[in-house]
Amino acid sequence: MKLLIVDDSLVVRNAIDRAVQSGDVHVGELTNVHRAENGARAVELFASERPDMVTMDLTMPELDGLGAIRRIREIEPDASILVISALNSHKTALEAIKNGACGFLTKPFTEIEVVDALKKLASHARLRTVARA
């Protein structure tokens, strides 16, 4: 499986990467982790690398997370996307889900929380693969 981490914070990108790479957790069978620092770069990387899962920040320069989700869904309508944002209102979460996110995690997050959320996302991605077969 391939994962795309999208966040304008290097510290957050590193934290998510470390969580999924840590030896005692298995988020599916990860073969590649790609990283993007804004929504525009995320769309480019999604189109070229076709990751199975995406973690997406919302507040980013150039193209925000919701805009990136909409464009990714034009490329892959069933993309498995987890939003990870500091915006913690139900309204924001609902908007993200309405735009095509599969899950929502609020910052700050612990390693356990992000791994649990990504395990669910991996299940979604696997189901999608099975449904296509």
Partner: protein, 172 residues
């Protein structure tokens, strides 16, 4: 009289909100080391600026900004609790920006989602000096691990003519 009471209510509400958000941040990441918050005070004259400063503009039910100014050792410790081994200028700036993003973004729930935040901006002392902050702007001194950072909150109800560009002034 009513105006003064409304301002007092808004100040109390905002102070409690951001104090709670700040404490929740530390409770989640370092539950064994609770921070302390000193008495808040209004900004008079030149605002105090520490090593790194990051500002988030806010729009929605309220309009204005929140900025965090922090000494390097606190940011180094925050990087450590976030598992980040690199303590270069780049990651210190990034940590400051991300903390201001989280503290401002986590207020969204309290405003029912009528709360938009900008991408965090790094400011220097000159930028801070030239911010057009509202008169109600207050400073929340945060103490953690013997370090002191300042969270500065400048918000007004969104029914006046202040625009984001006016707020930032020369710092934009």
């Amino acid at each position: 009289m009513r105006s003064v009471m409304n301002e007092r209510y808004a100040f109390d509400r905002q102070f409690k909100l951001f104090k709670g958000i700040t404490f929740d941040y530390f409770a989640k990441l370092v539950p064994e080391e609770t921070p302390a918050m000193d008495e808040p005070y209004l900004v008079f004259g030149r605002p105090e600026v520490l090593d790194y400063t990051s500002l988030v503009e806010i729009d929605g039910e309220c309009r204005g900004c929140l900025y965090l100014t922090s000494p390097v050792p606190m940011l180094e410790d925050l990087l450590a609790i976030n598992g980040e081994p690199d303590v270069s200028r780049r990651t210190l700036l990034d940590m400051c920006r991300e903390l201001s993003n989280v503290l401002s973004g986590n207020a969204s729930q309290a405003f029912g989602g009528h709360w938009e935040i900008s991408v965090p901006k790094t400011l220097d002392a000159h930028d801070v000096e030239h911010l057009n902050l509202p008169d109600s702007t207050f400073v929340m001194p945060l103490r953690w691990r013997e370090q002191r950072a300042l969270l500065v909150v400048g918000l007004t109800p969104n029914n006046d003519s202040t625009s984001r560009s006016r707020l930032l002034g020369d710092a934009a």
